[in-house]
């Protein structure tokens, strides 16, 4: 399953907290798609995901807009 949460215009750490909450209700193998225009938010989520050993792919799709795909690999 692919999920998205609306985080446009929100500053860190709100997106990260929303991500943490959403991830709890997801099954292993599910993907969470996030898009943000807040540079620090994107970086924060990537670092957090790497530290927690989740799979994450970050692409800067336009100047100042980041697309994140987070895969829940474990509980």
């Amino acid at each position: 399953m692919r999920y998205t949460i609306e985080i446009w215009g929100e500053m860190c750490p709100i997106p990260l907290i929303k991500t943490q909450k959403k991830l709890k209700n997801m099954q292993i193998g599910d993907v969470l798609v996030l898009e943000t225009e807040h540079s620090c938010t994107s970086r924060g989520i990537v670092v957090w995901a790497q530290q927690n050993k989740y799979e994450i792919v970050e692409t800067e799709i336009a100047n100042g807009i980041w697309h994140l795909e987070l895969t829940k690999t474990h509980d």
């Binding site: 215009g9 500053m11 225009e37 924060g44 957090w48």
Partner: protein, 209 residues
């Protein structure tokens, strides 16, 4: 499906670089040091944006999310600046150039102001550099934060003498005058290293929870 729009923006970026280059040359005709200042400012802004450095995150994340990556980056930044400034000071003394370090007296109002700024920056989602950088990136909310920043900075500056007289100030302390240059350097770096270790331990602890 991800649409990559970076390449379509390339011509705008190129145009902007040409514009900035011409502007720098124009200013250099008037005053060379001004164009160097502008060039350095642009370089710092570019580095800030690309590194996505965030002071707010460094102070907030250890408590809120348990991540200390950026806090440790700030510590490395401080350590590098301490060594850099020590070298600058040493070189200036060797060259017999008068050099007055930025040492300011401390008062209760300094602590109150610092706490106010700390609360404000977490709510606004950016410190001064962060707000400026994200306005440039197109994060519109930060423009509101910028107005607040200007208002706060100007009222703070204009009313500074009131607080100074009201709270009083302690004399400024310049550690090298008491301890000498090398012990101060060693002490500061040791303290920073200790903080770095603490933050590392804190992150491991938070992640395993």
């Amino acid at each position: 499906m991800i649409h990559n729009n970076l390449s379509s923006q390339r011509k705008h970026s190129l145009g902007f670089v040409v514009f900035l280059g011409l502007l720098l040359i124009l200013i250099a005709q008037l005053d060379f040091s001004l164009s160097i200042t502008l060039g350095l400012g642009l370089a710092i802004g570019f580095t800030l944006q690309k590194s996505r450095f965030c002071f707010v995150s460094a102070f907030r994340d250890p408590i809120l999310t348990g991540m200390t990556e950026l806090s440790r980056a700030v510590i490395i930044l401080l350590a590098l600046s301490i060594i850099g400034f020590a070298l600058v000071e040493w070189w200036f003394r060797a060259q017999q150039i008068f050099f007055k370090p930025y040492v300011f007296p401390l008062g209760v109002h300094t602590l109150v102001g610092g706490s106010l700024f700390g609360i404000g920056m977490v709510i606004a989602g950016g410190c001064v550099t962060g707000v400026l950088m994200r306005i440039g990136e197109g994060f519109a909310m930060q423009m509101v934060a910028f107005i607040g920043l200007l208002l706060g900075a100007f009222t703070g500056k204009q009313t500074q003498y009131i607080w100074k007289n009201f709270f009083g100030e302690w004399n400024s302390v310049f550690l090298p005058d008491f301890l000498g240059w090398f012990p101060t350097l060693a002490l500061e770096l040791a303290l920073l290293f200790f903080l770095w270790k603490m933050l590392k331990w804190w992150q491991v602890r938070q992640l395993n929870k």
